[in-house]
Subunit: 340 residues, 2 copies
C-alpha cells in the first residue's frame, strides 16, 4: 500500500538519462530525440510514473484547483451549480475542491482559509450571511466570484438571480388573478436571498396598494417540515391566504405536502425554484426557474477570465455583476383565480 511513488529521479536512473530529459518527455515538450523519448516513455509506463502536481504547483507558485464554497452539496440547487462549475473548470484543466458551510459563518471562513492554504487558483463562493471583511485578506491572492447571494460588499464579481424583481413579477402574477391575501412562506434570516425576495413581495403589494399583513409572512421556515407547518397554521385561520408564494424549492416541498393534506386545491401557489415533479402534481406547480447550472457556468467563466484563461478578454477590470434571468414557468397552480 505504501511503496513510495516513483519520481523523476527514479525514472531517470532507470532509463539512464537525466531527470530533465524525463521531465521533457513527460511534458511532451521540447525537442528530444525520438528514440530517447520512446525509451524514456517506456520506462515511465513500466514504473507507473505519475507526475506530482503538488511539486509542479509549488514550483509554479500556483495550484491547479479552484474552490467552491456553498451551503451544502446535498442541496440540489448547489449540486447543479457545482456540477456546472466542474465541467466548465475541467475544460481549462482545473480541478475542483468544494467545502460546505452548513450556513455557519465560521465554517465558511475556515473552509476558505483551508482553500487558501491549498493554493486554489480562484474561488466560487455562495456567502453565508454575516460579515465578510475577512475576504479582503484573500482577494489579493486569488479572485473570488460570489454566487447566488448579492452582497453589500463591493468589489467582487457577482452572479445572481434578480431575486427581488423575479419575486415582484411572481407576486404580480398572483395579483393579476385577483389574489389579495398572498402568503410568503420559506422566509429565513440566514439567507440574504430570502430578504431580497421578501422585498420583492413587498414591492408588488405596495404597487398594488395592498397593505402588508405581517401574519402572512411568518419567519423561520426555509426547510420542508417547517414550511409544511407554516401552511397548516396559515390556512387554519379564518382569513387565511388565497395564494402562497414559497421562497425556495425546499420550502415548496413542504407547502405542496401541506396543501395536499388539507386538500386545498383552491389555493394558488408559486414556487421560487423548480423542483422534481412540479409538473406532475395536480395542479402542476408554477415556478420561478433559477437555473443554477447557468449561474455556476457564468461564475466559472468569469473566474477563468480573471485568471487569464480567456484569451480574448482582459483579466483585469472592475468587478462585474451578472444578473441571470429567472423565468416564470406557468403550470397551473399559479394561475388559480381567487374564489369569489
Amino acid at each position: 500500500m505504501n511503496d513510495r511513488r516513483p519520481t523523476l529521479h527514479d525514472v531517470a536512473a532507470e532509463a539512464g538519462v537525466s531527470i530533465k530529459t524525463v521531465s521533457r518527455v513527460v511534458n511532451g515538450s521540447e525537442q528530444v530525440s525520438p528514440d530517447l523519448r520512446l525509451h524514456v516513455q517506456d520506462v515511465v509506463d513500466r514504473l507507473n510514473y505519475v507526475p506530482n502536481t503538488l511539486a509542479r504547483s509549488l514550483k509554479a507558485g500556483t495550484g491547479d484547483t479552484i474552490g467552491v464554497v456553498i451551503d451544502t452539496i446535498a442541496d440540489p440547487f448547489f449540486a447543479a451549480l457545482t456540477s456546472a462549475v466542474e465541467s466548465t473548470a475541467l475544460e481549462s484543466g482545473l480541478n475542483v475542491v468544494f467545502g460546505s458551510t452548513g450556513y455557519v459563518p465560521e465554517r465558511e471562513r475556515s473552509q476558505i482559509e483551508r482553500m487558501a492554504m491549498q493554493q486554489v487558483r480562484g474561488l466560487v463562493l455562495a456567502p453565508v450571511l454575516g460579515n465578510h471583511e475577512y475576504l479582503a485578506r484573500f482577494r489579493g491572492s486569488f479572485p473570488i466570484v460570489l454566487v447566488d447571494r448579492s452582497f453589500e460588499i463591493d468589489g467582487y464579481d457577482t452572479v445572481v438571480v434578480d431575486d427581488r424583481g423575479a419575486t415582484r413579477d411572481a407576486i404580480g402574477h398572483l395579483l393579476a388573478r385577483g389574489h389579495r391575501r398572498i402568503a410568503f412562506v420559506g422566509r429565513d434570516e440566514r439567507f440574504p436571498t430570502t430578504s431580497d425576495r421578501l422585498d420583492g413581495y413587498h414591492d408588488a403589494l405596495h404597487a398594488a396598494g395592498i397593505p402588508v399583513d405581517p401574519l402572512l409572512a411568518p419567519r423561520g421556515q426555509a426547510e420542508e417540515d417547517a414550511a409544511e407547518r407554516a401552511v397548516h397554521d396559515l390556512l387554519g385561520t379564518d382569513d387565511g391566504p388565497t395564494a402562497i408564494f414559497s421562497a425556495n424549492p425546499r420550502a415548496s416541498l413542504g407547502v405542496v405536502h401541506a396543501l395536499h393534506e388539507l386538500r386545498r386545491t383552491d389555493v394558488a401557489l408559486v414556487s421560487f425554484g423548480d423542483f422534481p415533479l412540479a409538473r406532475t402534481l395536480e395542479p402542476a406547480v408554477t415556478c420561478v426557474d433559477q437555473d443554477p447550472h447557468r449561474i455556476g457556468a457564468v461564475a466559472t467563466t468569469q473566474l477563468l477570465r480573471r485568471l487569464g484563461f480567456d484569451e480574448g478578454r482582459d483579466r483585469i477590470g472592475p468587478a462585474e455583476r451578472v444578473v441571470v434571468p429567472a423565468a416564470l414557468i406557468a403550470r397551473g397552480s399559479g394561475e388559480i383565480e381567487v374564489p369569489r
Copy 2:
C-alpha cells in the same frame, strides 16, 4: 490581485527570527518562549500569512485531500453521498476534491489519474461499467474504496446496497399483493446496479414460478423522459403490467408522471430509491430507501481506517465488503392489490 503571498521567510525577516521559529509558532508546536511566540504571531497576523499546504504536503510526501469520483454531482444520490464523505473527511482535517465521469470510462480514468497527480490520500469511487485493471496502478499509492457498485475485481474495500436482495424483496412485496405482470423500468446497461436489480427481479419471479416476459423489462430508460415513454408503451398494450418496479429514482419521476397522465391509479409502483414528494403523491410512492448518506459515511470511515486515522483499528487487512441495508418504505403505491 497578485501580490506574492507572504512566506515563512517574509514573516521571519519581518519578525527578526529564523524561519524555523515561525514554523514552530504557526504549527502551535514545541517550546517557543511565550513572548517570542506572541511577537511572531503578531507578525503572522499582520502580514496575513497563510501556510502553504502544497509545500507542506510535498515535504510530507502526501497530500491532505481525498478524492471522490462519481457519475455526476448533479445526481441527488451522489450529492448526498458526497456530502457525507465531506463531513466525515472534514473531521479528520481532510479536504475533498471531486470529479465526475459522466458515465464515460475514459473520463473516470483521467479523473483518477488527475487525482493521483494531486497526491490524494485516498479515493472513494463509484466505478463506471468497464475494465478496471488500470486501478492496480494506483492502489499501491493510495487506498480506494468502491461505492454503490459491486465489482468483479477483488481486493477493494466496497460499500454497497444489496441491490439484488432488496429488489427481490420489493418484487416479493408486489407478488404478495397478487401481481403477476410486473414491469421493470429504468433498466440501463451503463449501470451495474441495474443489472443486479434485474437479477433480483428475476429471482423473485422464478421463486414464484412466474415466467419472465422480456417485454416487461425493456432496455435503456434510466432517465426520466425515457422511463416516462416506457410506461406509456407498457400500459398501451392489452396485457400490460398491473405493477411497476422502477429501478432508480430518476426513472421513478418519469414513471410517476406517466401514470399521472394516464390516470392509472390502479397500477402499483415500487421505486428503488426515494425521491422528494414521494410521500405527497396520491397514492404516496412505496420506495426502497438506499440511504446514500450512510453509504458515503461508511465508505469514508473505511478509507480513514486504511489511512490509519482510526487509532483503534488496524490499517491493513483484507478488503472488506460492507452491505448497507435498504429498507422498504410502504407508503401506498406498492400496496395496491391486483384488480380482480
